[in-house]
Subunit: 415 residues, 2 copies
């Protein structure tokens, strides 16, 4: 049997045990894992050095090496993340619904673990620990397939986790790391119906698209974000500036940052040139529609392709629109159903925008950067879902659960 | 553009309008559709005759022709089904969660339609109306791809629906029927990411497996049922007989009927031969394990393949097990996570069974035949989900919805 299938099967057997554990047992185990990671920090850093050296030899860009690098501070942060997961409420076992039927059947819908979760990700070893924490807390086994660039680090981390779990109620087999760096191990995971209950991709859009296009196992898509901010005719100018700058530059590399600013023409005629200066100061390159170029002559011209691009960078499209309807149509055409914002003092327009825009998160007078598990108060998140099935938006612990109907009878049969 | 893409795009535009309708508007439209079907009954029956004649010419088996056939009574039943959907509560707009954040953000999680739902099904024209009713009630557009054997009937039904909707708030484009009988139209639907939000297969296991194996659009799997009933050592003999007979013979062709009876050896030694006689009287063929064959010499021998087969017929596997653990292991190996039952007077064993068996519905002392939207009190159902994501078990109206976070701010930006 292949490595993937063997390990997924072990994870499946462990899931049966994990499913029966109490919250206390799971929390206790996670705290022991957190301690083990701290205690093993120097071993992790040593393994991480191997990855970094290999990366440098292969000419990996500095920004990627930075995401890969671990030091004592980062390991402490990772362990602290685990401790925070311990403090989150355990959704497993929650009664979601109770139905009393006329024939005396007593039906309880209960939250249960999903079973075995596959996580496919890139070169950030912190995802390894995050995913383990979130999956174990919710009673799921996890099959990890991280990027080969982080393999030494992930191997050492999982070795420490296995060692730590062996003294707890959680079977170490609940955590499986696929070490086969070949792309075929990903392909195999994507088709492992009956072994994996769900696959969650975490990474860039090509990784996500590969998973979505090839998986027969159910997927939770944590997708791209082409997010818009629309400044309406009655938008407060100061608030507009603060929100749009924040949405663009506070952290341009993430999915909830803004890629296109839509501006009502009456607002634009008074305020756009000043606003453009603020973006210029923040080192943002502007790409504008023809009307924008009239008001901001130094901006570049935006193409259709620009509107369809998630820059994740200091680049912003600006489009002047004659009416809210045009903003809605633009978002419907180019948005990725992630996060969209309207800044306005007109309540009627706000309500229309919030109702009609089809996205995981729609904002009135606040930055799209808030679409985040921590900011919503969920604690750690496994990602932000851009699909509509199962979970949408920031996914906290309940997104890693399913449900089950438990029916108590006294001999009922169907007529 | 292909028929599938053109129609899916029309459905998508209609979904934007549908999304904004009130419950009253939707209900009113559904009642008008119900009337139109009754008024158009003779036209439907005429079209249905074409399908039936073609079917007879092609040598379609009588049982399939029966599922395809429509008469005044069946059409009245279909219209009545629509009226029942009108009376169900509308889940859209429901507030699922409210979060007040320390920074003053006010976050509301609301239930919204999924958008555009693709339904792929076989030759039962009643599914056409059912699906239309359930999808429209929940504010979704629907793209129907029924079996070619029912094409004339479906065409006429959808023509009547379009005509009826044209006088209502629901745009007729919200209902689309794919008329291309070629298998390639199904393949195209399965890859229509960005146009279809979900595909739901309704039909036999080969149809479902084709959808699961080939879809890149999210799928809700309404799967096969290899359901077990386990008679524990302390099971009440009369209740055991009633429940197991009901689970097998009340309607053997459906997914929640029993395929394998597991019997504790101490119960078997006293009661199995009598129970076997009852099945014999009900014309059920028994296939037994070696211990069963000792007690019921006239039974056939069961093979591993038998345990893995969904008969949907008057055939039953019987296996004697020495312990609850063996029953659990058998179910874990051969079950399809649909519906499983334990009959016992031992509460400890009942709790273990209900907790440890991984299935959409687990029963203590009641027939598995109850896994059904009507029996659970949900009213009409779009199917029974055997996957763990999004919806599990009988799917009522809420399974056809997603959610959306609506965030009200006053200028908040992220620090």
């Amino acid at each position: 049997m292949s490595e993937v299938k063997t390990k997924a099967e072990l994870a499946g057997s462990a899931a049966v045990i994990l499913n029966q554990l109490t919250t206390e047992q799971k929390n206790e185990a996670l705290l022991i894992v957190a301690e083990a990671l701290i205690a093993g920090a120097s071993a992790i850093i040593e393994a991480n050095q191997e990855d970094l050296e290999r990366g440098r030899k292969n000419g990996t860009p500095e920004s990627l090496l930075d995401r890969l690098a671990l030091d004592n501070g980062r390991i402490a942060g990772i362990a602290e993340g685990l401790r925070q997961i311990v403090h989150l409420p355990d959704p497993v076992g929650e009664t979601l619904e109770t139905l009393e039927r006329p024939n005396g059947l007593h039906i309880i819908k209960k939250r249960v673990p999903l079973g075995v979760i596959g996580i496919i990700y890139e070169a950030r070893p912190n995802v390894t620990v995050d995913a383990v924490g979130l999956c174990l807390k919710t009673g799921n086994s996890v099959v990890l397939r991280g990027g080969s660039a982080a393999l030494s680090s992930n191997r050492k981390i999982v070795e420490l986790i296995h060692l730590a779990l062996s003294g707890t109620s959680i079977p170490p087999e609940a955590v499986q790391l696929i070490e086969d760096a070949d792309r075929s191990s990903v392909d195999e995971m994507l088709k492992l119906n009956g072994y994996l209950d769900v696959v969650i991709p975490r990474g860039g859009s090509s990784l996500i698209q590969n998973v979505v296009q090839n998986a027969t196992v159910p997927v939770i898509e944590t997708g791209a974000g082409i997010c818009h901010t629309y400044l309406d005719a009655t938008a407060d100018p100061q608030m507009s500036k603060e929100i749009s700058l924040n949405a663009k530059v506070q952290r341009p590399s993430v999915c909830n940052s803004m890629e296109t600013l839509l501006v009502h023409e009456s607002f634009a005629s008074v305020y756009l040139s000043e606003l453009a200066e603020a973006f210029k100061e923040a080192k943002v390159e502007l790409r504008g529609c023809p009307l924008t170029l009239q008001l901001v002559p130094w901006a570049k011209a935006a193409t259709e392709q620009d509107y369809a691009t998630e820059y994740n960078d200091y680049i912003l499209n600006v489009k002047v629109v004659p009416h809210l309807d045009d903003a809605l149509a633009h978002i419907a055409k180019f948005g990725t159903k992630h996060s969209e914002c309207i800044v306005t003092d007109n309540d009627e327009n706000a309500v229309r925008f919030l109702n009609e825009v089809d996205a995981a998160a729609v904002y009135h007078n606040a930055s799209t950067r808030f679409t985040d598990g921590f900011e919503f108060g969920f604690g750690a998140e496994i990602g932000i879902s851009t699909q509509k099935l199962h979970a949408r938006g920031p996914m906290g612990l309940p997104a890693l659960t399913s449900s089950k109907y438990i029916i108590h009878g006294s001999g009922q049969i169907r007529q």
